[in-house]
Amino acid sequence: MGRVAAAGATREGVEGVDTREVGRRASFVRADGVPKVTGQARYAADLRLPGMLEARFLYGGTPHGRIASLDVSAARQVPGVLAVITQADLPPNRYGMCVKDRTLFADDVVRYEGEIVAAVAATSREAAEAGLAAIRLEVEPLPAVLDPEEALAEGAPLVHESWSEDASAYEGLVRNGNDCGYVTVVKGDVEAGFADADLVVEGRFVSDMAHAVPIEPHAVVADWQGDRVTIWSSTQVPFIARAGVAETLGIPEGNVRIVVPHLGGGFGGKCDFHFEAHVAALARAARRPVRLVFTRHEEFVVPDKVRHPMVMTFRTGVRRDGVMTASRARVILDTGAYASDSSMLTEVATMMVAGPYRTPNLLVEGHTVYSNKTPCGSVRAPTGPEGCWGLESHIDEVAAAVGMDPVEFRLLNLADEGDTGPTGQVYRAIGAKECLRQAADLIGYGDGDGEGVGVAVGWWFSMPSATGAHVKLNPDGSAVVVTGAQENGSGAVMALALLVGEELGIDPAGVSFVHQDTDAGPWDGGSAGSQTTFNVGRAVTAAASGIRARVLARAAEMLEASVDDLELVEGEVRVKGAPERRVTVAAVAQAAFDEGEQLIASDSPPVPPMPDNVGGSACVGRAVFPAFAAPAFFAQAARVRVDGQTGVVRVTDVAAAHDFGRVLNPVGARGQVEGGIAMGVGLALSEGTVFGEGDRAGRQSNADLLDYKLVTAADAPTISVSFVERPVAEDEGGPRGSKGVGEPPCVPTAGAVANAVAAATGVRLRRIPMTPSRVWAAMDGSRGEAGG
């Protein structure tokens, strides 16, 4: 209760907010909560259709090789096996969000251990496994590319030997050799900036591959009726999955319906099109419904949405008074075997390593590099935690070089209203500095000498996108929202009930949803880019306001009052100042129905524009993120305790201050901050893929939940949260001046923890995760070998 009250209290005094709304939002309980915690919720893997078969995939199993032979004839004879398919059974259609560089199944070449070579559908999982075992596959090894810097070197083996000219999925993609996305940020004159500097500080930082790890594995069920296929999938992006099925199978999009039952989390790992088409193709071949459920091992190795291993170098010029004059940075994203959505994420990475600073002269280069590893792509705030960690570690070193306190140094250099961003956007009112002040206050910064406290600041974008919604107000006063939006577990769709309830003057508990079904709702970008509330919130508000106007007009007749004198609250239309003159919303809706009018409305409001004055001519490769729309700013401070004998780090406290614009659902926003911090602590300390050596080079060694160490509830720090509300203009942001919330909270945590570890030990680690053996090795330079 205390937490909720505190979160609500931050909204007091915000202009234009009805205090009754504040109370309702602060006590809002999402509709899917009880079914999920009581086990009533059904997920894709829970579905059972008559005659349903089980699918299993055969994988290449090696980082790089050419398929010498592939013979599935024996597998087709295995009892219980009803379908075996390979790329030979499918049209040669290529797909990929940034580069169309892959097919559903390996086409001649295996480019990572989890490359799908064949698929089997059988009457049981065991029969399917027996089918896989009967497939004869020979792969001739090819030289593997495993290091992103070596991949960029002259003469490195090519992961993709030849690219067809039409492989780029969008214009502006700059490519060369293994680089499938070269991007720059140029601001001012970086050489002149260095000439103005008194000191130049350099640093290099490396992050390991990390994973999304939703609790629910990928699961797909496909069922054909004639030429139409219905696919129940654990996707975060049903409409993008639908497009992928149509593209790869060569069928009309209209013949594909994607339905998502409850989704057991995604964190980006279920963005993009994944296995829907494989299962649909199996179901078509077998003439039966087919179900695929991944093992945890497959979850780690196969999907193409994994956090990029990143290599970052920084060179920063600073004056003795602490003002940064120039920054030159280079960031390499190892995208693994396929480009996935990485080429555009490199644009985000360059903004991350540029940071929310006012530095007048910048040159940032970003490379997107192929290697023979599991493909990487969007995972919650892709490149954010890693880029922020690298930059903020470096900034602490720059501050130290000029003898300044890290908080003071940042307050001196952080951007503020009127400053210019890395690509030329001019900031409106932003809370970057205020967030840092509040995070430092909340952690008690500077209260104790020599304690392990560190801070990090950062920024993240909102993602304007096409949106739409249908709303209907029923004669009983309840409402239904029909939307294409996807509930990933964050509660973003469930909380749309708050906006609809407020618009219609009804209890949000009376608002239900038909959602995540491509045949029902309008197109939606899915649970990606923190976009659900930002975009769909605008759509449901617009649609509901259309109904609101009709309710008020009808009520005005019923109450013999002017519309201007009415208010819509607590399920009633009332005459202001004369509360005895009232009619329930249900009665208005029933009266409309009795006269043959249904209170339904649809809307698809305009997409907020990107910031102007962006993308100077010197910026190369900025096709998708020329600037950051409605950017969120934030700061976190962490306190750690380091076991000097073992190198084990415990994060005891994290204070977070976030400018999300106007906060619409404080309970939900707070939940996102707490979850993001837990994820960030994992990235800082324990979550990283370990690759094998020798025969197992390029293959993941800890692809399971015992040895890929997520943070548990017992490891979670004490978290304090503050919202710094700097609402965005109505036409530039989400509903009521809000910004995206889902991704930013995990961005600064690893940087804050790293700076806290440095403060506690006097040692700077240059690689995450900061595992105990790495911390232990760093504390004594002679322990090199154990550093890993």
Partner: protein, 327 residues
């Protein structure tokens, strides 16, 4: 493929089922190793499963008449408070048992560290031992406490053996086909008023759902029950987890530490040195070999320090590990 699942109601029926199906049959209790390894495709699920959860005699902790026939960790009868733990007793029952917490605290530490609360409610001590992982969390505690594994064979014959005999290698035990682990016996300490304490400490990267990278169980008896701090070390024992093919007891510890001051860091350094000599740590995905080796003396010292504090009647709740990483 067909699979046979049997639910015998008695030990006799269980060993008969195991004998009938030979090497095809494997007993299953909590299934936290068997099922997980099968899911990870590291070991196929056996074709005959003999479930133990409906055999009441296997589940529970009971007082046992003291039996001087067993060698003990403490030396010299008479003994009090001996216990018999049914093999299918879950860790959750062990970690909360008053007798175990009082007299066999290192075992409470070990059971309290297994997996999560959910794992501990289904995972059993018999399964933990029979799986014979080098990283199992109860083996070292039982080694220093002198625990014995009771094995029932196909003919109903009962034999008893120490863990040093029971553990044969990674995943290998002294069990013969048809044998079933039916209980763990723990002889109580002599009724001599001496102060005794034990602890099992594990190096934990995170505070739950962890597996041993290095673990150490220590047991100490202090010589002078009349002095405030218990006096010098009279007896000590040490065993290590996850640094050798099995849990191992470190030889020569009792002799090396007898008469030493328990507050003298050099005593624990000596124990750590002997432990490092006896261990053969490997490098793997969980830790480089050099780091594992370097952690042995650290964890050994912490285990002995916790055991001494407990001997001095200081309350350190199980698992002691969760407090041991606080400097």
């Amino acid at each position: 493929m067909t699979r046979l699942y049997l639910e015998p109601r008695s030990v006799q029926a269980a060993v008969a089922a195991l004998a009938e199906h030979g090497s095809e049959a494997v007993p299953v209790s909590g299934g936290t190793d068997l099922v997980v390894l099968a899911r990870k495709q590291q070991a196929p699920l056996p074709s005959v499963l003999v479930a133990l959860h409906r055999i009441d005699d296997l589940n529970g902790i009971e007082d046992q008449p003291d039996d001087d026939g067993y060698a003990t960790a403490y030396g010299g009868p008479p003994k009090v408070g001996s216990l018999r733990i049914g093999a299918a007793t879950p860790h959750a029952a062990i970690e909360h048992d008053a007798g175990i917490i009082e007299r066999f605290t290192a075992l409470a530490d070990g059971s309290a560290l297994v997996g999560s609360p959910a794992t501990r409610h289904v995972g059993t001590i018999g399964g933990n031992l029979a799986n014979a992982s080098p990283a199992n969390d109860t083996g070292s505690a039982l080694l220093v406490l002198g625990g014995k594994v009771e094995v029932t064979d196909a003919d109903g014959g009962i034999t008893s053996m120490g863990l040093e005999t029971f553990f044969q290698g990674p995943g290998r035990t002294a069990l013969k086909p048809g044998d079933l682990v039916t209980a763990i016996s723990l002889n109580g300490p002599p009724d001599d008023g001496r102060r005794r304490g034990s602890a099992y400490i594990r190096l934990d990267y995170r505070r739950s759902m962890e597996i041993a990278v290095v673990g150490a169980a220590a047991m100490v008896t202090l010589a002078d029950d009349s002095s405030a701090d218990g006096g010098a070390i009279e007896h000590a024992a040490l065993a290590l987890t996850a640094v050798a093919p099995t849990c191992i007891e470190i030889p020569g510890i009792a002799e090396a530490l007898r008469g030493r001051d328990p507050d003298d860091p050099a005593a624990w350094d000596e124990a750590g040195r002997r432990a490092a000599e006896a261990a053969a740590p490997i490098g793997d995905v969980r830790a480089p070999a050099g780091y594992r080796a370097a952690m042995i003396p650290v964890i050994v010292r912490r285990a002995f320090q916790a055991a001494v504090r407990r001997a001095r009647a200081e309350h350190i709740p199980a698992p002691a590990t969760l407090g041991a990483d606080r400097p």
